[in-house]
Symmetry: C2
Subunit: 416 residues, 2 copies
Amino acid sequence: MFKINDYTKSREAFLRAEKVIPSGIYGHQGPTEGCYVPVEAFPLFSERAQGSYFWDVDGNRFIDYMCGYGPNILGYNDPDVDAAAAAQRKLEDCVTIPGTKMIEFAELLVDTVHSADWAFFAKNGNDVTTMAVMVSRAYTHRKKIVFFKGYYHGISPWTQKIDYAGVTPEDVSNNIYLDWNDADALARTFDENKGQIAAVIAQPYMHNNFMDNTLPEKDFWQKARKLCTENDTVLIIDDVRAGFRLDLAGSDHYFGFEADLICFCKALANGYNVSALCGKNFLKNAASSLSYTGSYWLSSVPFAAGIACLNKLKALNCPQLLIEKGTRLKEGLIAAAAKYGFDLRVTGVPSLFYLRIADDPSLMLHQEWIAECVKRGVFFTNHHNHFINASLTDEDIAETVAVAEEAFSVVRDRHS
Amino acid sequence: MFKINDYTKSREAFLRAEKVIPSGIYGHQGPTEGCYVPVEAFPLFSERAQGSYFWDVDGNRFIDYMCGYGPNILGYNDPDVDAAAAAQRKLEDCVTIPGTKMIEFAELLVDTVHSADWAFFAKNGNDVTTMAVMVSRAYTHRKKIVFFKGYYHGISPWTQKIDYAGVTPEDVSNNIYLDWNDADALARTFDENKGQIAAVIAQPYMHNNFMDNTLPEKDFWQKARKLCTENDTVLIIDDVRAGFRLDLAGSDHYFGFEADLICFCKALANGYNVSALCGKNFLKNAASSLSYTGSYWLSSVPFAAGIACLNKLKALNCPQLLIEKGTRLKEGLIAAAAKYGFDLRVTGVPSLFYLRIADDPSLMLHQEWIAECVKRGVFFTNHHNHFINASLTDEDIAETVAVAEEAFSVVRDRHS
């Protein structure tokens, strides 16, 4: 099978990047980040992308299971989304007063998302998780926020960890951290902090890095919802990563409950730059009361792209399609692993799957296997969940399973 | 002179917007915001834009002196920037690993901006002011930040006011607020907080809303720079609003000093969505140490737009061009006011001018005059600084002065 052995131009580009950019590449995408090691197997710079694939600067093609860490839900360069965006760009984008595409996109979200009576648009997922917390505090006149350990809600100081660089104790002094799925602890926390908890913020299920992803236990969300309601506390769902890959009506709807505020970003517009906070009517005045805006937040091109994207997601019944594709891939990968005596755990919803070889606490066997996949043109990462997009074909899935099988065989040979 | 009396479609659109968006329109652009009253004179939704103009949904054309609140620096739909962006879009935009346009843009900024040894890209001005504060805290292992009253550094909780909705006392507990231009107070503050001040953050001059804009007094910046250096404190310049309208080498360079960190956003890419933190080498490791990233932060299209924009700004010697255009406009407006006995104050650098009719503490005469200008197709706002763009023609300036003169005459008639 084809094996990539030339990342020369990626490495040359990185040497240039290091001179003028802190870390060379920042975020998960950089070689100093945990979900990438061992980095020598990975390309560092891309040149073009189409559908399920990207090509690196050395001309190597990858079947991409990261999808830009989420935004690519229809396939790179989707013709319908790009046409809508280009048509809007000819008219206007970032202008002094907004265009009516903003209204149209808000109407479409309110029509689509079960918990949404209104929508507010920004640029980062972080913008809308931060706004959700501020809306909750403005509404309740309380300060404390409950998180579930393993959470990721962006990069503002209030949501970082106390031992992270640049974070002060005051930034996180109103945060309470509980174990995921522990409804009893949540009930106790409400008792111990009567009238003080502004919001509970959570992803719809635990899909964090470096751990098997964990679905909500039976009735967990129903219990949490009831506790929030009884305590006049706002329930915030951070659907930035999972949004529209589980259910177009929102991942709260997928799990059978209703959030008060729901945060969207990645899959909203197939890569065009927009995020959204949606919420219930009782919080609309609190949202209006904030001083909250940004330079590009009324730009029309991403709204046009978002409208085209969401309409196409509806036409395709996309979450179901992605879950089916993910399920076929999952079954193929588990069978390929078993052939060589590996127990591959594929966790989370299959449209957003997390991979781990079991019985390997060091994670080294897993990293070796991922590296062998990447070197054969299947772009997985080591310790981050993966993303399915709608343009992924049966042939792509078959090729991925074949690559995975060869990679398992190489790792088995090396260790037998 | 042509007078607009039909905003029917704007008002109809706003009624739709109110149903699904908190406040209908958020930010400065909305009718509930202070810099807009009296709102009846203003359009609320745009349909298209080109060069110096936008057209509202009722078909009215405006000469636009807000420039999208800054991003429009070359003219709306600049053909060179749009061509570069479209060419990049055909290849790739928001992909799992970055493209090399990111490196190229960082190299160009480092080559252009006097204080920049490196660049880090994000999406909002707020992302990079927040990062600047976190880098300063990570580097100094201190917590306190000095602000100058009248500041605006974005919308994160740490930079909001304690009495604003959704803000906790802890969010702002490490903030110290001083009067602008008061170097003695800054010196005293350093003495009283020895070894505790992580950073001083400031705009290059005071260009806030609802007040005449104030340039730095002689030697203010040199004194502030010296105090920061002596106290191992990071000097952050928030050039989000003024950047590239004063000096392509940075507004610190324009005022004859060097910042340690400098924040850019609005004028970086003529409306394409990107912001940048640039800094000195001694802070590069601290920048690398942060956990700081976002979903769209490595997208290539805005980088391609930014490269084309900055190269064109250089070719045009844009800041000088904008200051010349602004100066001609300023002289015309002041003369038009004088004809009708008004003392119009035009403050700030002329590429970024602030307007106020003097001897009118209620600001009502001023608001009446602005309204009469807007109703004649010149888009000023009441209490926010204005922006010049490179496509503004001599004819636009002449038309603006003629409109302003007629507006002064109407206000004079009404009050004599």
